[in-house]
Every structure is written in C-alpha cells, then in structure tokens.
C-alpha cells in the first residue's frame, strides 16, 4: 500500500514533467500543423543553459533565465528556419525539425562535451520532504510538482482569460478562420513556438538535476513526448494532460511491480516447458513487467491509432 502511494507521487512528477513538454508541442502542432521533432532538444538546451548559468549565479537565476533564452532561440528558429521551410510543405517541415534535433545534439556535444554535467538541485531543497515506509520523497520533487502545476494553471489562465489566449484557442480548432480574421498569424506562430519551446526549456531546467544532464537526454525523452500527444489527441491541451499523467503512472507502476509473465501464461492454461533453454518462447516465459514497461506507451499508441485515430481527446484527424 505504501508503495502504491509513493508510486502515485512519483508517477505524478513524471507525468507533470511530460506535460510541460507535451503541452508546448501540442500547442505548436495545433497552430502550425508542425510535429516538432526538435522539441525535446529544446528541453535539453534548457537543462544545459541552466547548468551553465547556475554554475555562475546559482540555481534560481538559471530557472528564470534559461527558459527565456530557450524561448528566444525557439522563436528565432521559427522565424529564420521553419518559416522558410513552411512553403515547401509539411514533410520538409517535419524533416527540418528532425535535422534540427540532430544538429542541436551535436552542438551540445560540441560545446559541453559528451559527459554528464554535474547539474545539481539547489542546496536549499536537498533534503527529504517526507518518507513513506522508508521511501523518502526529496523536497525537490515536491517543488517540481508545484512548479508544474503552477505552469499549468498559468497556461490555463492565459489560454482562457486573455485575448491572446482566445486567438490561440480559436486557432486550435479553426486555424484558417483565425488567419482570415486578420490576426498577425506569423507573429502568433512565432510567439507560440517561442512559448512552446520555453515551456520545454523550463521542463529541462527542473528535470536536469533529477534525470541527468547529458547529450542523450533529448533522445531518451523525444519520442515519448510524441507518443503522449498522439495518445491525448493532437491539438488537445486536456488530452496532453491526461495522456501525460497516464503515461507517467503507467511507466512508474509497470517499473515497480515485478509481475512475471509466467503467472500470466499459466493463468491462460499454458504449460511451462520442461527444458527452458530449448524452448523458442523461453524469453516470453522469463519476461517481467518492468522489462516491457518502457514500450507500453508505444503499444498503447498503436492501439489508440488503430481504433481511435484522433486520440483520446482529439477532434482533428491526426
């Protein structure tokens, strides 16, 4: 029972972190129709910038400044890269972001090398907030939850209570109409791209100390962010939230319970082979849930796409 509670908390942290990435990605997609493959790379940049800044001025300045730099960088990429490629169609656009992801990874290695960076959570938060059954929850994780929820509320406020938010909201469902209404769509695009990447940057800043700041951090998270927004439904903010939490809990729980496939197979009345080493299915028999945990989201995504191509909450066809 204690393990369940602690897993719920851990899954929440993972899910919210994922949401910070997927919310930006889904905003960008709804506005511009671009699946931004480089999104996780901006997350990585956030972590590295924050590391660099924090090594001079401490963690908190990094938290403030790094996302801004990332956001400005993102806006510039939109202005001078993506907008140019946009005229060639969607596939080149997608491929552009794909190439950008590669380039950013290489640039990060160019400047910071290939080692993991010693990016640490702030001293003031390096204590255990509370413990459940011997398992302690670091204060930093509690802080992560607060930050993510705060950002979510802020985003919600901007989207539903401000004029800019209304325009973006409208563009989620009717991108063409918004353009026809005479809004400066290129500027909105640039802004949304900037804000979206800045959100990814924030995620990087606060996740860097926990999940590690290393050149592979974007790749590790990259495709799972896509999976999240596809499951949630492209262009749906609520979908992104639900899917993020779902995946957060799914992977957390899958990793922490050693359910063996042997029990499942036996439940279905299958006989365990006498000599394991000669059975072609030996690997299935010895499989455990944590082993397949990381691929569960992909299985979920394929199932959803086959049976409900619009995702859980999506209105628009992917």
């Amino acid at each position: 029972m204690e393990l369940v509670v602690i897993n719920i908390i851990d899954g929440l942290v993972t899910g919210l972190l994922l949401f910070m990435l997927s919310s930006g990605l889904t905003l960008i997609f709804s506005m511009m129709g671009v699946l931004n493959f480089a999104h996780a790379s901006f997350y990585m940049l956030g972590a590295y910038f924050a590391y660099q800044i924090s090594s001079i001025t401490g963690f908190w300045m990094g938290l403030l400044i790094a996302p801004v730099i990332v956001g400005v960088g993102g806006a510039l990429v939109e202005r001078y890269g993506l907008r140019r490629v946009h005229q060639f169609g969607h596939v080149p656009e997608l491929i552009f972001t794909f190439g950008l992801a590669l380039l950013i990874e290489e640039l990060v290695q160019f400047f910071w090398g290939k080692n993991q960076m010693a990016y640490e959570s702030p001293e003031t938060l390096q204590f255990a907030a509370f413990a459940i059954g011997g398992n302690s929850v670091p204060a930093y994780k509690v802080f992560m939850i607060f930050i993510s929820v705060g950002i979510f509320l802020g985003l919600l406020y901007v989207l539903t209570r401000t004029r800019v938010g209304m325009v973006i909201q409208a563009a989620l469902s009717y991108p063409r109409t918004v353009e026809a209404l005479g809004h400066n769509v290129p500027l909105v695009f640039m802004g949304v791209f900037g804000v979206g990447t800045a959100l990814a940057g924030v995620a990087g800043v606060i996740a860097g100390p926990v999940l590690g700041t290393f050149p592979g951090m974007a790749v590790v998270l990259g495709s799972i962010v896509f999976v999240t927004i596809v499951i949630g439904g492209l262009g749906s903010l609520w979908g992104a939230l639900v899917a993020s939490l779902l995946i957060g809990w799914l992977t957390t729980f899958a990793a922490s319970y050693n359910v063996e496939f042997e029990t499942i197979l036996k439940f279905f009345g299958m006989e365990k082979p006498e000599i394991m080493s000669e059975s072609a299915l030996r690997d299935i028999w010895t499989l455990t849930l944590p082993q397949i945990g990381p691929i569960l989201p992909y299985i979920l995504m394929i199932l959803i796409l086959v049976f409900r191509p619009n995702g859980l909450f999506g209105k628009r066809d992917a």
Binding site: E2, L3, I6, N7, D10, V13, T14, Q109, G113, K114, N115, Q116, M117, A118, A128, A131, G133, G134, N135, S136, P138, V210, L211, G212, F214, P215, G216, V219, V220, L221, I224, T251, T252, F253, A255, S256, Y257, N258, T288, P290, Q291, G293, P294, I295
Partner: protein, 414 residues
C-alpha cells in the same frame, strides 16, 4: 589484369584508403571504439590512455625490436557493430595487425567473430584482437578463439572477488540484484546468484531483475521497489547513464546500504555522485589507484592527468595491454607474425604497473590478475577522479582472482 589493377589503384585510389598505408617503421595498433556519439566519453578516454601508455611505456623506452615505435591509430566505430566491422576491415587493409577494442561486449562478440573468420579466410594476413574491456564471460568460454586476448577480469571473476568481500560482511541479510537487460547484465546476475548462494546461503536475494538498457528515463520506481524490498545491499553491473541514474535515484530515495558496482567511476560518474555517494558506492576492478602501490604508479597517473586533465585512467589494464604486447613482439622477434606473438602472449607473466602480476592464461586467453574492491570517497584520496575531490579507495584485494576458475573454452590452434 592484376598488374593493371594495381597501377590504376595506385593512381586513383582516394586518399582515405591509401594515405595511411605507408608507415612500415611503426607497430600500429588499431583502436576501434566509439569516438563520437553518446558513448564517446569512454572511447576518447580509452584512446588517451592508449596513447599515453604507448608513449610512456614503450616509445620513451626505445620501442620494440630495437627501435620500432608504437603508434595508436584511432578508428571511430560509433558504437555500432556494423561500423566496427568496417573499421576493422579498413585497419586490416592498412596492414595493421593488432585490433584493440573494449566498449560493449556486443561489439566484442562481433569483432572476435569477424577476426576469427578473417584469419581463417586469409591465413597470410592474420590479425590479433586485444580485448581490453569487454567482460562477457562467453568471450573466453564458448566463444573463445586463438586470436582473442582479454586483459580485463571477466564478469564472473569480478563477481567472485566481489562476493568474497561481501561474504565477510556479517550484517548482510538481503541483497537486491539489478542490471541492464543484455548478455553482460545477465552474466552479472547469474554470477551473483551462483556465488552468493555458494558463499553465503543465509543471505536472501530479495530481487533479481533486468531493466531495458539505455531506455529508462527515471529510475525512481526501481529505487522505490528496492527500498520496499528491505534490501540492505545491492549489486549492479550498470554503466554509463544507467549507472548514474540508478545510483542517484536509489540514494535519493533513502537507500543507505552499500551499492556494489562494476563501473561507477570516472567519465562524469564520480563527480555526479559526489558527496551523496560517499561511502555507499563500491566498485570492483583491477588496478585501483588509491592507495598508490608505488611511486612509479603515482608518477604515471600524475603525468597522465597533467596531460589529459579531462580524462582519467579509468581502464588501468590498458598499460598491461601495451606492455605485454611489446614484450610479446620482442619475444617473437617479429611484429607481423601474429601466431608467434600470440604464442608469446599465452602464458606470459607480467609485473603490472598497478602492482601484482598479470598472467595470461593459455587455456582461454583470460588475464588473471589482482582484483580489488574499492569505495567511493574523498578521504585519503591521492588520485581523485573527474577533477573532483572524490575517487575510489581500495578496501579489499583478491590476489590473482579467478586463477582456478573453470573455462569451457576449446581452443583451435593454428
């Protein structure tokens, strides 16, 4: 036709394939390891160690065969089996006779297989495979061959040494095993179960699991499980980001017992663990630098760190590879007759710079040497790692570990 071929080839062949082919006055060793991509850290580190060892231990002492210098030629295998085979082919084409590789047992399997096939198909152009780091026991057991030499202690030997040390800890009640889901991770887990049940039947193995390699973003759920299991020690063969992630998550979740590892040092790992890992991370390896065994060793390490401040001597056995190869070449009196060199290497006993002796066991080409267990700390640190104040301090030593270990190797000799 043949002649025409050669004439044209000489004229037109692009630089890449011919430019480096002409140095006959050096003994060249192809270093085939990742120099780019996510695993490049270990690769570049190993390259620095090779270059330094060749320079300091051979070239400055007059080389081999009365003056031939050692030259390390780097090939980037991008941590890819396919690229490794291509680079090995390029190296062989350039007339290189010695292939050194270490990162990833998977690639070592590919190379040992390829070298074996190459030597069988091209008896007049054979090469040797100097495996300095890949520790899957299979390489010196069922997959062994005459051309492969392993200079690191294999996973079984290391586990044997590690469990010898663990067995002395009477507080030990419950142990958790966790590793990466591939041949090496499985080898570690199997060895741990085997050795622990033999040496300490009273110790309960409360968990034995494998996680996907390089795919786990967050190790917290694993850490929760480990703590919930009530384990008071854990063993892992994880390396790279998987090591850092697991270690940090476990310590952060409140685990206080010892964490026994194979690769939790250098390449940023030591610096990342820092204060948090002090006294709880243990490491099993050959050639620890603390406490120093000799002035010669300390001088060597200091000189290396002065030259390569971003690198550490994380794979001490590289000096043994270089020195033993030099000896074998001198003994064989040739730097091209690899059968003679291999015969010289077989059964060779060598005084390692890291103290103790290294014996190349003829039955399976497995180096037998002292294996140490050390702890991550900043106390008594003569040679810290990662430009931090932390490093590994030896606590126990198993002399000539695994000398009696069994092997299933049936070696075909030329």
């Amino acid at each position: 036709m043949q002649r025409f071929t050669k004439i044209v080839a000489a004229g037109i062949v692009t630089t890449s394939m011919s430019v480096m082919a002409g140095f006959a006055d050096t003994v060249r060793i192809a270093f085939v390891d990742p120099l780019s991509g996510p695993f490049a850290t270990t690769g570049t580190n190993g390259l620095a160690e090779y270059e330094f060892a060749a320079e300091e231990l051979v070239n400055k002492k007059g080389g081999v065969l009365g003056g031939k210098q050692f030259e390390i030629v780097a090939f980037d295998n991008k941590m890819s089996g396919k690229e490794s085979l291509i680079q090995v082919q390029v190296a062989i084409d350039q007339g290189i006779k010695f292939i050194a590789q270490g990162n990833s047992s998977g690639i070592a399997h590919a190379i040992t297989d390829a070298v074996n096939k190459h030597n069988r198909r091209n008896p007049d152009n054979r090469v040797l495979f100097l495996n300095y780091s890949a520790v899957d026991p299979a390489l010196t057991n069922e997959k062994c061959n005459f051309w492969h030499f392993r200079f690191d202690a294999n996973a079984d030997i290391k586990m044997d040494a590690l469990t010898d040390v663990m067995a002395q800890n009477s507080d030990l009640k419950k142990v958790y095993l966790i590793g990466q889901d591939y041949s090496f991770g499985k080898a570690v887990a199997d060895a741990a179960v085997r050795d622990l049940t033999a040496k300490r039947p009273d110790v309960e193995i409360v968990g034995n699991e494998l996680h996907p390699i390089g795919k786990v973003k967050d190790f917290t759920p694993y850490a929760r499980k480990i703590i919930a299991s009530g384990a008071d020690a854990m063993i892992t063969g994880n390396w790279g980001a998987d090591m850092v992630g697991l270690g940090k998550a476990v310590i952060e979740a409140g685990f206080t017992g010892p964490i026994y590892t194979y690769y939790a040092a250098s390449n940023g790992i030591t610096r990342t663990f820092g204060e948090a890992g002090k006294g709880s991370i243990y490491l099993v390896a050959e050639g620890l630098q603390n406490p120093p065994v000799s002035e010669r060793m300390s001088t060597y390490v200091d000189a290396f760190n002065a030259k390569y401040p971003d690198h550490d001597i994380s794979q001490a056995r590289i000096t043994n590879v270089v020195e033993m190869l030099a000896k074998a070449i001198d003994e064989a009196g040739s730097d091209t007759d690899v059968v003679a060199i291999a015969n010289a290497l077989e059964g060779m006993t060598h005084d390692s710079i890291w103290g103790g002796k290294v014996f190349m066991r003829p039955q399976d080409h497995q180096a037998i040497q002292n294996v140490h267990v050390g702890v991550h700390t900043d106390e008594d640190m003569r040679h810290p790692l990662d430009n931090s104040t932390f490093g590994i301090l030896g606590t126990n030593t198993v002399e000539m570990a695994g000398a009696e270990s069994e092997t299933t190797c049936k070696m075909d000799r030329p």
